[in-house]
Subunit: 349 residues, 2 copies
DNA sequence: TTGAAAGCGCTAACAT
DNA sequence: ATGTTAGCGCTTTCAA
């Protein structure tokens, strides 16, 4: 009786039944001991636990989950792994999940919207106890599915104006306002911006913050100084070249995030434009690499890992109490002034 | 009959039974249509598929997996998300997995060895069809478990001298040799090194490559120029400070990876040591940020994402043929010369 | 406090 | 080509 099917691999694992046999109790008692704190005598509990340990028993998550229990797995939906910002958030998520005894199932959508919907459905009737959405949620379609099924989820880095969902984000508007005002206070008047993705609330809000700061200080908005970016390094690079090639180039550039700011630094370097002497650059996020740049990048710090951690806490709370009303948390941002920003040349003494 | 248990959430998903009822066939026929290309008439197949689509049916992975089928999930074990190198490999893994219709379950061990063993057991009798180990596998303990169960796995970035396991890695020795020789050819004689972790084959081999290059060119090994690092930025930083603070500091430093090289650049900057004029720096990996540094980093390029992709291909092949003998693949490295390395000062004209 | 038994949704023999 | 049935390992009633 050898392996007839190709699925021999899913075999001979130590199961709850083995433990039951060894410890001389019924197999549901073992289940009780293992999964809960039901009414089991201390005596049998200890015995079962000892046997389980001796046999090296490890629960089969899928069986547990199928049978209606918790799987202790949380799904995380991200657009991709190619942005330092995502990494930081995910790192925070991972750490907290770990601390709480959960595993992490990572789904990358690669920006394919159909895929997202499919993923979400799969996740909702799958292994996961909850879902963390770190993706741009444009249409509400799959959120409805989640709501219907009362499946716990949290929108991460999303400003949910409807307050229908659990969500968390940073003060993007304020951060951008602070960054822009910092440049204005230094004496800059020609301030360019490379925006983030405009289908993300963070992208929109940062542009708004920039505009508001200009308005507050009576600086006319110059559309030519607004370059549409996408939060990735290459558009920072091309945007930097574009802005610096203008007839009257800006003396400062606010990049929608650090990665694009790096692109600006590179473009400036290639054009012989010196930072911060000839050009001030400010980013957003404060990813770890920002402090390794030369010059070190002035930026708006977001507690990205903290955002991940808090998101996990929100989710787990929601898993405990599926009926609780949606919450929203906003994390403060903080301007970190380093060497990439300085007064414009004409103001230097 | 309302929600008595807290597990109401795992309900009312469209199942294979609903599809069967709607399309007027038995429920195993639906299974056949959905999971395989068995002998089903084109007629029923189309009908079932149509109904499934209309009802928004999504397979329940855990049930499928429990019942002995494929889950199309691959587990990836990584030490953590805090190293650019891991990210790149994981990105490659993710992309290829995605391309092949697999999902990715991410486990981070956070360097706790007990955890690793536990994870591996859980994974082996769990949802995953296979496992990718991107972690330092010091003792063979859990690999034995995998072997016993004939559970498919691949060691990523591990030189497996025993050839007992499927594995893939880069030419670490050669890469380090090339890097060191490059510095020697530029005229450097005092060449420091900040090593990687010595419990990783990559760390060991890179140090060996460095030593061999020195030996080949009749340069005496100076133990004082060897600083033990760990592949993270901070040790590059402290190591850089240490080496540059030596009575006769090196004129060049080979860092075991880019992240540590960034630390060296930072330390040099703080000490007023100019790169490459006063100090040449070479890294290893060529992570995306290396080209964003100032000066741009000379480094040894590893095709990290490619490594991830190939690892996935190996794994899937092994999942298809669990009895196949272990393979090992070695990927070439390539020296990328940029601006952080130059002849030492005394050789400049 | 414990045991027996009914599924969770699915796959894979085994029939037909 | 399709239907029937027995589990996969576990949780959770229901009885005892």
């Amino acid at each position: 009786m050898d392996h007839s099917s190709p699925h021999t691999r899913k075999k001979n694992a130590v199961t709850i039944i083995d433990v039951a046999r060894e410890s001389g109790v019924s197999y549901s008692t073992v289940s009780r001991v293992l999964s809960g704190f039901e009414y089991v005598s201390d005596d049998t509990r200890e015995r079962v636990l000892a046997v389980a340990k001796r046999l090296g028993y490890v629960a089969n998550l899928q069986a547990r989950s199928l049978a209606g229990g918790r799987s202790n797995v949380v799904g995380v939906l991200v657009p991709g792994l190619d942005n330092g910002y995502i990494i930081e958030v995910t790192r925070g998520i991972d750490e907290e999940l770990n601390r709480q005894g959960y595993s992490l199932m990572l789904y990358t959508t690669h920006q394919q919207h159909g895929k997202e919907t499919q993923f979400v459905s799969a996740i909702a009737n799958g292994l996961c106890d909850g879902l963390l959405l770190v993706v741009p949620v444009v249409p509400d379609d799959y959120l409805d599915v989640l709501q219907q099924r009362k499946f716990p989820y949290v929108l991460v880095d999303q400003a949910d104006s409807t307050r229908r969902h659990n969500s968390i984000c940073s003060t993007n508007w304020q951060g951008a306002y602070d960054a822009t005002q910092h440049l204005i206070n230094l004496g800059h008047r020609q301030i360019g911006i490379i925006t983030g993705r405009m289908d993300l609330s963070s992208g929109i809000e940062r542009l708004e913050g920039y505009k508001s700061a200009l308005a507050t200080h009576d600086i006319a908005l110059d559309e030519r100084l607004i370059y549409p970016g996408d939060f990735f390094q290459p558009t920072g690079y091309t945007g930097g070249h574009h802005l610096l090639g203008l007839p009257t180039p800006p003396t400062a550039i606010f990049a929608g995030n650090d990665l694009m700011a790096f692109g600006v630094l590179q473009a400036a370097g290639e054009r012989g434009v010196r930072v911060p002497d000839d050009l001030s650059v400010v980013g957003f996020d404060d990813i770890p690499y920002s402090v390794m740049m030369h010059p070190r990048l002035t930026t708006v710090r977001q507690l990205l890992d903290e955002m991940g951690r808090v998101a996990v806490q929100m989710l787990l709370k929601h898993i405990e109490q599926p009926e609780s009303t949606p919450h929203h948390i906003t994390l403060d941002t903080q301007l970190i002034v380093r060497e990439s920003s300085a007064p414009p040349r004409h103001l230097k003494k």
